[in-house]
């Protein structure tokens, strides 16, 4: 989904809150929530793709204003309700107030039918797909051309794995893009490497 979480290249954000030896956690509850989502994954209540997608499904104003661990908390609570572990009424009764959860998921999808195997040096183009459910293609590479650098082991296909849809595991390709192509005349010069699932890629046939 083209959600609020898809931040790469968005403009208007200010300086990074940077300090040496920066903290990971700021409040004790954050550490506890980080442990609890790990417990739920370990117990098989949900997988990492479902977890990530439930964060993406947060109402955009909630997403953008919540801190990192509030997003973790919201995903954990949403999935525990959706999986029937607890009810929203119980959570709200315990919290003594409203407990905002993420919006329902759209449908997932399986692997793209005509996938190609790529090799290092191949030029590829990212498909111009608009996926309503979970997808790990950041919007800034949609339709863009890059060069394959390497191929990873196979992984569960996130677009399916976040939705309980059957799919084959597939590799990702380390694809190298140039900021000159991603944001012409509007970015610092650099190469940007993205791990792109096979289903998101087409062979580029136009000459460079």
């Amino acid at each position: 989904m083209d959600g609020m979480h898809d931040l790469g290249g968005k403009q208007g954000f200010g300086r990074i809150r940077y300090g040496l030896n920066a903290q990971v956690f700021h409040e004790p509850w954050e550490k506890r929530i980080n442990a609890l989502y790990g417990l739920a994954v370990k117990l098989g209540i949900f997988n990492m793709d479902e977890y990530r997608h439930a964060i993406e499904r947060m109402e955009p104003r909630h997403y953008i204003s919540a801190g990192y661990y509030e997003r973790t908390l919201t995903s954990l609570a949403t999935l525990c309700v959706e999986k029937g572990i607890v009810t929203l009424a119980e959570l709200e009764q315990r919290a003594q107030g409203a407990f905002p959860l993420s919006a329902p998921a759209a449908a997932g999808r399986s692997n793209v039918a005509e996938r190609e195997d790529f090799k290092a040096g191949d030029r590829v183009r990212v498909r111009t797909d608009y996926v309503p459910g979970h997808v790990r293609m950041p919007g800034y590479i949609r339709g863009k051309t890059g060069v394959v650098v390497s191929k990873s082991p196979v992984y569960p296909f996130p677009d399916a794995h976040a939705h309980g849809v059957k799919a084959q595991d597939e590799p990702t390709y380390d694809v190298r893009f140039s900021t000159d192509d991603l944001w012409p005349d509007s970015a610092d010069k650099a190469l940007v490497h993205v791990a792109v699932f096979e289903s998101y890629l087409l062979r580029e046939t136009d000459p460079a």
């Binding site: 931040l7 790469g8 929530i33 572990i85 003594q96 293609m137």
Partner: protein, 198 residues
């Protein structure tokens, strides 16, 4: 009450919501409390940047290990007794040189090789870093105190899948003759993310 459709009650403070889900999980038999204790131990004692620092120091002093690390990071860190979660199937180690700076980010969430380089710092998870690192890398690094000369090329690695990355920093010239233990002490989490040089 004259209001026929009373508004929802105010949103519970985030800490109350955190306590609510923890209590609910405990009440439904998921042994939340016990697991939290175990996980806090992992976070504080096991998933720390000293792990990655040990990997870097070994790579600086053992050329054969460095080759294995660059060829297959996951196998190489396991040689040192380190582990990665099952879903991190691949660790790619990115070697910096005097003219190349690799930088890691995650624009979609905040993925990192946390068992090796430690859990991501607050700024790594902030919207600012996630939005800007890919598009304004040189500016962002400069704001963070790393003002790279123009001849240094920047490569940004966006962690969009479960492949994980760590940066192998350049060994500082003044460390000639140092032991692995001495070297490991100067390697920081930020240098393995790629936003600092040593």
């Amino acid at each position: 009450m004259p209001d026929q459709n009373p508004a929802k009650p105010p949103i519970a403070p985030v800490q109350k919501r955190a306590e609510a889900i923890e209590a609910a999980m405990e009440a439904h038999g998921l042994k939340a409390g016990a697991f939290i204790q175990e996980a806090e131990h992992l976070v504080e004692e096991k998933w720390i940047p000293d792990n990655g620092a040990r990997v870097v120091a070994k790579a600086w002093t053992d050329p054969a290990f460095r080759q294995r690390l660059l060829a297959n990071g996951r196998d190489a860190v396991y040689e040192l007794g380190l582990t990665m979660p099952p879903h991190h199937r691949h660790l790619v180690v990115l070697e910096n040189t005097p003219t190349l700076q690799n930088v890691i980010c995650c624009t979609l969430c905040s993925c990192t090789a946390f068992t090796i380089i430690g859990l991501p710092p607050d700024w790594y998870k902030d919207l600012e870093y996630r939005a800007r690192a890919v598009r304004q890398s040189r500016t962002v690094l400069k704001e963070m105190g790393l003002d790279l000369p123009p001849e240094v090329e920047i490569r940004v690695w966006d962690t969009t899948a479960d492949t994980r990355y760590m940066v192998l920093p350049v060994r500082p010239p003044h460390t000639a003759g140092w032991s692995e233990e001495q070297l490991a002490r100067i390697v920081t989490k930020d240098s393995m993310i790629g936003v600092a040089r040593l």
